[in-house]
Symmetry: C2
Subunit: 275 residues, 2 copies
């Protein structure tokens, strides 16, 4: 049978993947980091026993967290990514020619280091001239920013460990302040099968601060339940009112301009979490 | 840790679920049947080591295979379900008041027997007055039918064991003949992450026989990759041209009239399989 990595997505359910070899096991200042070479998904980054990204299916998450808000905004120039030390979101952000500067604030420098080493197709974009990388606390960085960004993307882990503060209303208030007057933010907000209460709470919290609050989904096979949600808070622009001319030609493997609208059509039991 | 059931969805990847107890293990004339009580998903029907349905997430598959074609057809009266011995598709079909008769043709009587015993919320509808149940070979039943049905739904296992003949062009030709002049059929066609070639082949085969061929998706956590596809072949009616007035009020937990359209917006790498 060989060696298998198993993530318990709940106490009673999980996924399991055959391993070619373990590339690194590190205890960082913030979390346990593992880099695993799997047979099915290529190299896989695991933090605190949770799959963060894999070479084979990473495109779904990274495209969907970036392109939906970046095409909703008419002219995004300054973009901030909180978390996302693997560099995948930054790679997608840079596909938008309007972007002049993309800042990454990742609390754990080891995530950057090991991603550059073992996930080069994902982390390679971190060396781009338009990118500024800061190893810093995302919550504090947001708290110290004012009317600075067009788009803020929160690519955090699940709300355990270092990411707990990134799921609080105080954080969303800070994001609102850090955004320009027509700014947009998106946060990954876990899955509706096992974390319905979290989605409902974040949606309510964001709704109290932003005038346009929406939820959209994507299929990510290595994430719990395979159905992932993203919560968008926007000061003015509505993602469903984007005109077709806005979509420029970028290379993607999941996102399409058709899906831009369709991803907001929620399954009934997910829609119920927003009402 | 207790006892866990693991399905290898590929040679190198799978899901694993904690078991409360095994309710039945039977070798039928066609396949191995297991009924397992799980902690996470309730009772789970397993055929030849593959999860067929679970009490907790069955609604997604059953609603999506039934309501998309039944709302695309303007007035479905006679419906045939091939396979689907658990009864879930029939339950959804009966929510449509226009349906006068729903025929289920399941090759394995043991699936009916154990579903009635251990999956009563799914199989209960099989006792309805409008339902006719036949324990018979689906391929032959179709071959002997002519211009009889408004809608045919193929709720098969994956193309191994008894279901192999249900993924052939000969079968789709038979379905075309068994449908009335404005008939519609839908077949489950597995997932695009691990079975891309199968989807491409079925889509091509159906496209050669039906004038309107479309593909749509749904998220099913206990099915391989979590992203499931359905191929629809229709003689006249187009699923995206359904008028909003057509949608009658039925109780669902996944399907909505909005999703009826949105589920056809495919991720880029899935859309590529249809081109």
């Amino acid at each position: 049978m060989g060696i298998w990595f198993t993530e318990k997505q709940t106490a009673n359910f999980g996924i399991t993947a055959k391993i070619k070899q373990t590339l690194a096991t590190v205890k960082t200042d913030f979390q346990e980091l593992e880099m695993i070479q799997t047979e099915e998904w290529g190299n896989m980054l695991v933090l605190d026993d949770m799959v963060m990204t894999t070479e084979k299916d990473e495109f779904v998450y990274h495209e969907m967290v970036a392109h939906v808000p970046l095409f909703t905004h008419p002219n995004p120039k300054k973009v901030l990514v909180v978390g996302g030390g693997d560099g995948g979101v930054i790679r997608e952000v840079l596909k938008h020619k309007s972007v002049e500067k993309a800042t990454l604030v990742e609390v754990d420098g080891k995530v950057l280091e090991y991603s550059k080493k073992y996930l080069p197709t994902i982390a390679g974009a971190l060396d781009d001239d338009r990118v500024e990388v800061k190893v810093d606390d995302g919550f504090m960085y947001i708290a110290n920013s004012k009317r600075e960004f067009d788009v803020i993307l929160v690519d955090s882990t699940e709300p355990v460990g270092p990411a707990v503060s990134l799921f609080t209303q105080g954080f969303y208030t800070g994001i609102h302040k850090a955004l320009k007057d027509d700014g947009i933010f998106v946060a990954q907000t876990d899955n509706p099968w096992f974390k319905a209460d979290l989605i409902r709470q974040v949606y309510n919290d964001v709704g109290e601060i932003f005038s346009v609050t929406t939820l959209y989904t994507a299929n990510i096979p290595t994430y719990p339940s395979g159905l992932w949600t993203f919560t968008m808070g926007s000061k003015i622009h509505h993602p469903l009112k984007v005109k077709k001319e806005r979509f420029t030609d970028i290379e993607t493997n999941y996102y399409t301009s058709e899906l831009h609208y369709a991803c907001f059509a929620l399954p009934k039991f997910v829609k119920d979490l927003t009402e």
